[in-house]
Symmetry: C3
Subunit: 297 residues, 3 copies
């Protein structure tokens, strides 16, 4: 694997290989140190993803070069390509990039020798998040085929909803979508169907909540936080409808009291903290696959 | 020791154990590498304390995860608790935190497994500074009992004055306070008494100067820098009154020409640079005590 | 070598020793790890130089302490000297500094034990850039004596033009200068002569282009980017006049389409990417010379 930019580009065998390696790391397998230079270029701030990659890189024995996007020559008008060309010239072999622009990597990949790991692009992809979500579901239920999975919230602007729908559908899950219809996109019909959360909740094995982007939505909507919570959110009342074995997931950061009631974030149903822990193992697996390719393994 | 948030929470035996370990590190003892992940969360900028912890952490063989408070999700409204929950989930076992709010750690400690080291809270505590101050006094005089110590300046808002007064009094020092009376707090009477600097200076063994926070005081006072220096500061003339064995201390950064005459900062009486050096050893001792507890030692 | 602040302070033997060590590192020699603490203080942003030093320091096995100039106590009015005094006290032995003020280091050096490496001062010096330029020319042509070298652009404000002219002249190169006459300085006459780029281009072995500082020049000049390119820049048409063996150099970041045509940046004549790669080896050689001196080698 030279680059890791979209989960859709992997076949199921590759996905399961990554999940197997992530599981091995979680069970205590230590990585062979690979003293490769890596840089994390986050042009949108993201504590969680950024630090998760940082920990994964350190655990892989990599040399992490600090890159402060807010201080970089990009602000003097340098293109992303020229910045990456510099990093490649000075010996950086892997770049983890988060960028506001969808598919920013397409023009870059054919022009660079370095590997690119997509840490999230615009409203496009967030493949390491998809991988950690799959890991969390697989480790809970053993397999994904036949599971009833609800994805709820702003499907239109979500970086993970589309990728997750695609891969979970491919793996044989039954998908349901909920949330405001104006945030739904007909193209999701190929994977499942839109419905009221209350109609399907008691049958669900997995409830994946998406983050409400208040920054984005405040202007365009009359939906208050309280109203969102009551109408679409996972309230305490709704959680009582869940199967005992059902799990709650959220990519974080959570808006407590909006997508989900405060008290449910660390409840026994919740895998939200576990997802963050799994993020490190999923990213170790990605980094391993990429450095293996460089070493000709 | 699981957390290190206030020097008042330690008994004298624990304080002396930390001082003994700090002394050993200063004398060249190398730490057993503890590859624990640590993050430094500084919500107020502080070059000195931040970098001193960073060096101490590296010397302890720890993995330091870079955390840029100004870029963090805290700015998107995430709570400090949720940020720490994330760090804990991804494997960070120790957080060093500086925060504007007094006692910010009280709500956090019972909810987290990670260790918290207080790098300074509001006008509350700054226990690693207290420890390095004690180390500096003890290594000069052998013991603290019976020493005459003057603490001079803004006692009301100082993060270290109260803790230092408490612990030095407990250890048997005779305490004196000076500076503007409006910056004095009657509660210090339990540890010593307020007086004119000129009245007591010739008897002092230790003169601890506090930093004048011009940012804070400019608006509320007619006290110019020059006037402060002349009336309350350690001028060259006053320094001539010092015993030959007396030492001058300051937590830094120094306002040269305000709390202390420029020429005295690196004079033979001064321990100001030595205090900064001692800060690294004191912090190594704190980190060792905390990681030992995690390792069950 | 205790400090490295200006290439003019080295004799030619020392320059060649550094170039020999840089070449050895490029050929794969690994450095003996020197676990010295180093800090990079960049008061002007510079992705390239900063990260190049960072990679070099890691390759030398040094401990790099992160220093964020924008967050430092310098902003609270602390002097650069007091900041360095702090770093020295906590154990930092080498500081790499970029500063807006010419010769900022002159007052500092006699007062500090730590080593200072100048990463660029105002419009003064940029000696590590000079060293990597020499390395790039020497590895292409074997030696510098007798080469025809054109330096083109804003000679007046360039940090590298004067140093490069000085050292290349000393090494026996024939120097030519071009660009707007108002950006020329008569003092360069001691090293070579000013001329039209088209008059000398076919005889040149090396064409060193300087970056146009649009930020600086926009206000004072009617010279548009296009007009600069047509009149003074290395256009595609001009590049056809080059000897087949001629090389193009630029300190980066390049203004594509201004100093040089976009298509020429990664052409076969260009050494621009190679210069960035060589920067790491040149800086490893500098760091080695300085840490050797500390170790008494």
């Amino acid at each position: 694997m030279k680059n890791f930019v979209a989960i859709e580009e992997l076949d199921l065998t590759e996905v399961h290989q990554l999940l197997d390696r992530a599981t091995a790391f979680k069970q205590g397998e230590t990585a062979t140190p690979t003293p490769v230079f890596v840089a994390n270029l986050f042009f949108e701030s993201s504590t969680r993803t950024h630090l998760s990659f940082e920990v994964a890189e350190r655990r892989m024995g990599m040399q992490v070069i600090p890159f402060d996007a807010s201080q970089s020559s990009i602000n003097k008008g340098e293109s992303l390509y020229d910045t990456l060309l510099t990093l490649e010239a000075i010996g950086v072999e892997v770049a983890v990039i988060r960028h506001t622009e969808n598919n920013y990597y397409e023009d870059l990949i054919p022009r660079l020798n370095m590997s690119i790991i997509n840490g999230g692009d615009g409203s496009g992809h967030h493949p390491s998040q998809s991988l950690l979500d799959l890991l969390t579901i697989r480790e809970t239920f053993g397999e994904i085929r036949g599971l009833n999975i609800l994805i709820s919230g702003d499907l239109l602007h979500s970086r993970v909803a589309r990728s997750n729908a695609h891969i979970l559908h491919q793996m044989g899950a039954n998908l349901y979508f909920s949330g405001p219809t104006k945030w739904y996109d007909e193209s999701f019909n190929r994977y499942g169907r839109h419905c009221e959360i209350d109609a399907v909740l008691p049958q669900m094995d997995v409830v994946m909540l998406l983050r409400v982007q208040h920054e984005r939505h405040a202007a365009e909507t009359s939906l208050t936080k309280d109203k969102y919570h009551d109408t679409y959110g996972l309230t305490i009342a709704r959680a009582k409808q869940l199967k005992t074995t059902a799990i709650i997931m959220h990519p974080s950061p959570v808006n407590r009291g909006v997508e989900i009631a405060d008290e449910l974030v660390e409840s026994s149903h919740s895998r939200i903290v576990e997802q963050m822990a799994n993020g490190v193992y999923a990213r170790m697996a990605i980094l391993e696959a990429i450095t293996n390719q460089k070493r000709g393994n």
